[in-house]
């Protein structure tokens, strides 16, 4: 059919006057195809980081925020929330919500604690190398089953996700208490605890460089491959300078991150321990050992890349977006929307289980209060990261940036000495403000 009303308004080449009127900035955005809201979030992050650092410099005489140590800690703290936020993106895109993730985290942490401390050592012996693997797999499967069960209640029972997971919030927290009779399970398996980070739970300088190079290679491959695809089908290509710019930017950010984590050295106490344990004949003051990337951060990176791939390159991901955009249309297109809902909630539960691994390993113990209020941080991370509560829109990397923003606010306020009440006020206000800005942004782009 011909659309006569729109034909004159959409000429193939805009008149030169109009092109000239578009500023350099907007031409830059068009050429690089960068998302304005992504840039906005990075800007907000820089503002938050700079702000906290300057506040420290001006008020306390010394800034602690922009130090390798703080940023390294920030990356570890973001991991647990970030892992769950990637799953929450799927849940919110399909117009649901999951309020139970914090409780699932707590419950699976307790289950894993029982598994590795009370059950497995009986059969395998204390410190057996298989313990941590069995425990992690067990925890993720428990999370998936809990999530899948809740998803089935939503999809086949027709109960709103809000109610199902609000119930779950109480039920799983209660289960965590009942199973462990309120006790804290500690210490966890020695290998397992490495998954939580710390000096031993990091990959060191060489390891970080290898990770960094792999990421850089991945970035370059994606840009080259995208270009090849566009050439093959004769679609409009990004200009060479824009592709080069994106590649250099991505690689520079990666190398910067490696340099940063490598310039945070082990504390002297740990170094002394290390020298004693290995019978080294050096002075602790002269030995500098880099942390490098913490293992939980690498877990987050792997989860993010995988989830991003699933969302953008598989049918499953396409159906998630379709269901969010128009559930009825998705069903009429032959998509089994109910089974999809079960799968999405199962993934969310599995990721909560994985977060429980990171969180309990970091604490070196499992308590039934682990993950309390995490659901709010996870939902806030997803929403601040551009996931629309109306459904159909959201990105994985946005959610991780959102998690980083939330965590930066949180730890920044701790550093400058805000008390707990003030922190809650700020975090709550930021969430509401972020959603409001999001609504303004969408209204404008319509």
């Amino acid at each position: 059919m011909t659309d006569t009303t729109n034909a004159p308004a959409a000429p193939s080449n805009p008149p030169p006057s109009q092109a000239a009127r578009k500023g350099a900035w907007s031409r830059f955005l068009t050429a690089t195809e960068l998302d304005t809201r992504l840039i906005g979030m990075v800007a907000a992050l820089i503002l938050i980081w700079g702000g906290f650092h300057m506040y420290g410099v001006l008020v306390n005489g010394q800034g602690f925020f922009l130090t390798p140590r703080n940023l390294w800690n920030l990356s570890v703290q973001t991991a647990s929330i970030g892992i769950m936020a990637t799953g929450m993106v799927l849940v919110i895109i399909t117009r649901h919500i999951d309020l139970s993730v914090g409780s699932i985290l707590g419950f699976t942490a307790i289950l894993m604690g029982m598994m590795q401390v009370n059950i497995l050592p009986q059969y395998l012996g204390l410190g057996h190398p298989a313990i941590w693997i069995i425990t992690v797999v067990f925890g993720i499967i428990c999370g998936m089953m809990i999530g899948g069960f809740q998803g089935a209640l939503v999809a086949y029972g027709g109960i709103p996700a809000f109610i199902v997971t609000l119930g779950g919030l109480l039920v799983w927290r209660g289960c965590a208490f009942l199973v462990a009779r309120g006790e804290t399970i500690s210490p966890v398996d020695a290998t397992f605890s490495l998954l939580g980070g710390g000096p031993y739970g990091s990959v060191g300088a060489t390891g970080s460089w290898i990770v960094g190079l792999i990421i850089c290679a991945g970035i370059v491959f994606m840009i080259v491959n995208g270009r090849r695809q566009r050439t093959k089908f004769e679609f409009a290509k990004r200009p060479y300078w824009a592709d080069t710019f994106l590649a250099v930017l991505g690689c520079a950010a990666t190398v910067g991150a490696v340099l940063l984590v490598n310039s945070y050295y082990w504390p002297k106490g740990i170094v002394k321990q290390y020298i004693a344990a290995n019978d080294l004949n050096v002075e602790a003051e002269t030995l500098f050992i880099s942390h490098g990337f913490a293992i939980p951060v690498l877990v987050l990176v792997v989860v993010a890349v995988t989830m991003n791939f699933v969302m953008n390159n598989t049918r499953f991901g396409r159906y998630v977006f379709a269901i969010g955009g128009n559930p009825e249309a998705a069903a009429l297109a032959g998509i089994d929307t109910k089974w999809m809902t079960v799968k999405i909630f199962a993934i969310m539960g599995g990721l909560a289980g994985l977060s429980a691994v990171v969180a309990s390993a970091r604490l070196n113990s499992a308590t039934n209060a682990l993950g309390t209020l995490d659901e709010l941080y996870v939902i806030a991370a997803a929403v601040i990261g551009g996931t629309s509560l109306a459904g159909g829109v959201g990105t994985i990397f946005g959610a991780i940036l959102g998690a980083l923003v939330m965590q930066s606010l949180q730890s920044g306020m701790v550093l400058i000495g805000f008390d707990a009440g003030m922190q809650q006020v700020v975090v709550g206000s930021v969430l509401v403000l972020a959603v409001f800005l999001d609504i303004l942004y969408r209204r404008k782009s319509k």
Partner: protein
């Protein structure tokens, strides 16, 4: 009235729905209705709102499961339990609501549920966009918004995406639910031309409409429904607008009026 070549109705019908019934919570939405459709034929389905036209057709497209009745495609009994089944019988539907996912682009909507994949099983967006460009060039040469979500398109452009989806996959049986309801006169004309072309290609089309003039122009036969029951099926050349109006409003067949 249409200057159509006569339809050969001696062979096996393309589709036959026999004694279809469905009820929702005690309301008999479709009550023992039988209709059929031959290759190259357009059958109009008429009736008031709530007469059961859309419900009947949703049984054929797999959106609803009938309580009783049988469907035959090319003379063979067909089992249609969901939209996927309908598609395997080459039954394609253009819904009144268009059934588009507003947040996805034209190509993603075109291939929704039937994505093209690379040899690694990943969705092949570039290939799908290329195919989408091809078919849209045929249906609507002015269509250029390939990378934008369909929510950014005009009513006519959205309609052409919905039509492209039905036409692209070699439909043999096409269901059009109020295809012109949201369109201006010029676009309506384009739909009419498309229907004529698809007819020539031998497709069978069920056309649901409110507009009697539309139906008289495009259809070969009309089936009129009232309160879930079939009032009757007439050849367009045998009846007048008033006869059809009588069937819709009073539920009586043209023959009965003469008596």
């Amino acid at each position: 009235m249409s200057a159509n070549t006569p339809i050969d109705r001696t062979g096996t019908p393309l589709v036959e729905m026999r004694n279809m019934s469905i009820s929702f919570g005690g309301i008999q939405a479709v009550d023992d209705v039988s209709i059929d459709l031959y290759p190259g034929e357009v059958v109009g389905l008429l009736g008031h709102n709530g007469a059961g036209k859309s419900t009947l057709i949703k049984i054929l497209s797999g959106a609803y499961a009938a309580d009783s009745g049988e469907i035959y495609v090319n003379g063979e009994k067909a089992t249609i339990d969901n939209p996927r089944d309908a598609r395997t019988y080459n039954i394609e539907t253009i819904y009144q609501t268009l059934a588009l996912a507003d947040n996805l682009d034209a190509a993603s909507n075109l291939f929704l549920g039937r994505e093209l994949t690379t040899k690694f099983g990943m969705v092949d967006d570039a290939q799908m966009e290329a195919e989408c460009r091809k078919i849209m060039h045929r249906l609507n040469p002015n269509f250029r918004k390939f990378s934008e979500p369909v929510s950014a398109l005009s009513g006519g452009q959205r309609q052409s995406v919905a039509i492209a989806r039905a036409v692209y996959f070699d439909a043999k049986i096409l269901i059009m639910d109020e295809p012109t309801a949201a369109l201006g006169p010029q676009e309506t004309q384009m739909v009419a031309e498309l229907v004529q072309e698809l007819k020539r290609q031998g497709l069978g089309i069920f056309l649901i409409s409110h507009d009697i003039a539309d139906v008289m122009e495009l259809c070969d036969r009309v089936s009129v429904m009232k309160n879930g029951q079939l009032v009757g099926t007439e050849k367009v050349e045998d009846v007048t607008d008033d006869d059809i109006l009588g069937m819709i409003i009073l539920g009586k067949k043209p023959g009965a009026k003469a008596a």
